[in-house]
Amino acid sequence: MRITSPHAHTPGNTGDVMKQIILATIPGLIALTYFFGPGSLINVIMMTAACMGVEAAILKLRRRPLGFYLGDYSAAVTGVLLGLAIPPYCPWWIVAIGAISAIGIAKHLYGGIGYNPFNPAMIAYVILLISFPLEMSQWAEPRTVLTESKELIGPFSALSHIWFGTPLTGALDAWTGATPLDSFKQNNSLLVEQLYASDSLFSTARWAGAGWEWVNIGFLAGGIYLLYKKIFTWHAPIAMLAMLFFCACIGYDNGSSNSLGSPLFHLLSGGTMLGAFFIITDPVSSAVSNRGRLIFGALAGLLIYLIRSFGNYPDAVAFAVLLMNFAAPFIDYYTVPRTYGHKKAKRATIKQES
């Protein structure tokens, strides 16, 4: 028998939810580590430690109970997500500045867990991207495009590169390369088919781009697990992916040199799945009601597509999420659900003393 509303309850608390989210990032993390070497794994570990450290320091400054707030793992989730988002093998100070921006500025200046209007990980990502564009755009080449002379970076050379700046296997461009989104954006002379045949990023891939397709499928799997566990509702992620799919269908134009990318390419590139299932589902900074989340997700998908296709940045998940975080309170204001027993929705404005 299915247990229904007043009797059903979820055992657990914030900490359990956050642990589930961390657990669900594992398939994506495995894919990142398999294709790009241990960089992302190191990032995640360092970033989680740094975020927990900053959180502890600020809790101490604010004289809040350390054990209680650290035990909800919200800082760890921010750290894991930011660690997954930043490029592997970036220097240690990127991690440090990222942790301070995420936890210090985006979270605790607003009062800590439950009050942050912006997603802390995405604020930190955007601060880093705008302040250090060079370090933030160096992605390692995926395993499938490496040739005989290059090999996947080992954990020890990775650590010494991150901490002491030791060059990785010779010159810089020996290990970094364009991401599929970059190389698609820069192409304006080849038909999509020709590009897919000539660029090893695409020719060694099955659907969208070497390595990235599997990373996105990993995050999709994690997201489906979270949906199954009812950590969040389906509205925002599905609306975002559907909107991105719809826009990409319009812009594809059957693969001419001006094509803006196939729907599958957009769904399985860059941060699409990480954004859809781990970022815009943040319960604090997204819209509250189901109808609001549908609007929130769809507009996020639209912004991602527009900025990817026409803007300066190859990937746009972070910007789109922040812009939608900015709009979320306004969306909430006009999507207040009808409460039981009332015919019309009542506007919920906050009374202010003035």
């Binding site: 912006f118 604020i123 306004f330």
Partner: protein
């Protein structure tokens, strides 16, 4: 037509007057604590900005340029803007006394909204024609309204957040505006 759409896109998002060019910050911070007031202020500013950019274009093209008085344009525009604001004030007072009371001192303060003068000066600097000037002013006003309204909805929420005491009020508002301006950098390059 395409140029006009480009101007509209540019002024609303890419070169948003508040978050990218940092003009018109005083009403942005001052009138954003309540959503309803912000909507009123947005409407009033849209009215004034569009009208002021039309009037300043006419004054600049048909008065200042024939007389060779371009060096007077800042003073002339300030005068034009003051007149338009006074007109808007009378208009709002007679059509919506409630909004007039709510906006209070901020209505005459539109005169000193640097976005209004900024639009007028940029119109002459960019040598916009009549339609371009109008659309430029209207787009700037829409961009201003968009961020003002979204920001005020967000500030209603910030008012009940557990913000550390030194950052309460205007300080966290400024920080939020800064973070939003970061987010708006994502629009860079759009429409070019």
């Amino acid at each position: 037509m395409e140029i006009l759409a480009g101007i509209l896109l540019s002024t609303i998002l890419v070169n948003n007057f508040v978050l990218v060019q940092f003009l018109g910050l005083c009403p942005f911070m001052g009138v954003s604590s309540k959503l309803e007031t912000a909507i009123g202020m947005a409407a009033a500013t849209t009215f004034v900005l569009t009208l002021a950019s039309i009037c300043s274009y006419l004054v600049s093209t048909y008065v200042l340029e024939p007389l060779g008085l371009e060096y007077m344009q800042t003073i002339a525009f300030i005068l034009v803007i003051a007149v338009v604001v006074q007109f808007a004030k009378m208009f709002i007072e007679s059509t919506s006394p409630l909004l007039y009371r709510v906006l209070g001192v901020f209505l005459p303060l539109i005169t000193t909204n640097c976005a209004v003068l900024g639009v007028a000066l940029q119109n002459t600097a960019k040598a916009h024609n009549f339609f371009e000037s109008t659309i430029y002013g209207f787009g700037a006003a829409l961009g201003f309204s968009l961020v003002l309204i979204l920001f005020s909805a967000m500030r209603e929420r910030l008012a009940v957040a557990d913000v550390p005491v030194p950052f309460k009020g205007a300080a966290i508002g400024m920080i939020t505006a800064g973070l939003m301006s970061l987010a708006f950098m994502g629009f860079a390059g759009l429409g070019t």
